[in-house]
Symmetry: C2
Subunit: 261 residues, 2 copies
Amino acid sequence: MIGIFDSGIGGLTTVRAIIETMPGYDLIYFGDTARTPYGTKSRKTVIRYAIENTEFLIKKGAKIIVMACNTASSVATEAIKERYDLPIFEVISPAVDLAIASSRGMQIGVIGTRATIKSGIYEKKILEKNGAAKVFSTPCPLLVPLVEEGWVTKPETAMIVKKYLHPLKTRQIDTLILGCTHYPILKAVIQRKIGRQVTIIDSSVAVSKTIKTYLGEHPEIEAVLSKNSRMDFFVSDITTQFEKTAESALKRKIALSHVEI
Amino acid sequence: MIGIFDSGIGGLTTVRAIIETMPGYDLIYFGDTARTPYGTKSRKTVIRYAIENTEFLIKKGAKIIVMACNTASSVATEAIKERYDLPIFEVISPAVDLAIASSRGMQIGVIGTRATIKSGIYEKKILEKNGAAKVFSTPCPLLVPLVEEGWVTKPETAMIVKKYLHPLKTRQIDTLILGCTHYPILKAVIQRKIGRQVTIIDSSVAVSKTIKTYLGEHPEIEAVLSKNSRMDFFVSDITTQFEKTAESALKRKIALSHVEI
């Protein structure tokens, strides 16, 4: 199975992208809803959580791991890759590759949680690929709670998005990376506030393309993945909010199991 | 020592109120910053966290426990009182008593997290004390992240407060209970939006008065509490945000220790 974890519900945008890009594969999802959010927490704590989540998915039969959470991808990738001997996918590099491929002027903006932006990982990876790029990044900590409350089309959300994007707009970026799995849900208002001329990069779409390519190049790994279109969802806390958001994100009824981590 | 726990930083308003009401007592504070917030999580998970936090404070020498968190007070008081044989203070009853004492028309509003409002605890306790009271309550889930981001005087916060308070304003409440430890930090904007004629009840002030009265009536408990003006702060995750907010809330430098729960 393909194991996917996230700090909570945001990673469901990655599940949706994987289903669309490569339908049929069995998925197991773990959302750490009892400890969500990760983006305001320290590096050390996020690494500990990422290890526990990976451990759980492997025990449940995952043969590859997708860290759908940008915060976990930013701070815990190295720790996870060192510790486990199976293919580990994070959401940063695929988004960086896609951004560089689509940017015309190499003026790239990045938005994410406080922890993701503080890690400097996007800037580092972009400059490794293209030393001439200019990277401007800014944390948008209120967007996660706004999405989780379903305040997607409210005027207050538009005002807050405008305020957050202002420093990037003045830098005249041509490409904007949505460095948090929650942000694609706000894509319409983000596009409106940053301007039509800016290309928006959604990391959930980027990582699903990377996985597809990887499996094409590694038939021995592809062969061990089961393909019965099965999806198992585990969360560390069951709230009505999760079910509602999950079903609206995936456009189907889902079966949810509780597990204590 | 007096042990106090909260889901994160909000309980520091209670620490401040206790220091002001009854200076000199040694305090030990635990903020569960690695799992914050509680207000969006399920009853079952919050009860588990409250038990673990109480356990930690008792091991560290707490002789009385203050649940500074409204969400934990709402859903976990019974479980904690059943399990531990020492004085347990929650923040709901003191606020209810104060609200009933100060309300002229018994039109009482309550705001809190989703979990607190869903529990119906304020309504239940108010009606137990005064069956003729009318209670109107509404969840304000975005106020906690707004406070934690320090967006106290921003226009977006004022708009969101106004939107949340609208249903209470149309009911013409005369008293408003701030049913979350974060909300006193927004007291000015809340007062402006609900109207000058409404009395605002701050549960942190209410609980500190209750503790003072209790200790006056129970000299055998009072005698075991040490009084060296000592304060120990423990958190499950150390973030720069916590230190900043703690020092501005308490107006002094604090020593912070990390503990894994």
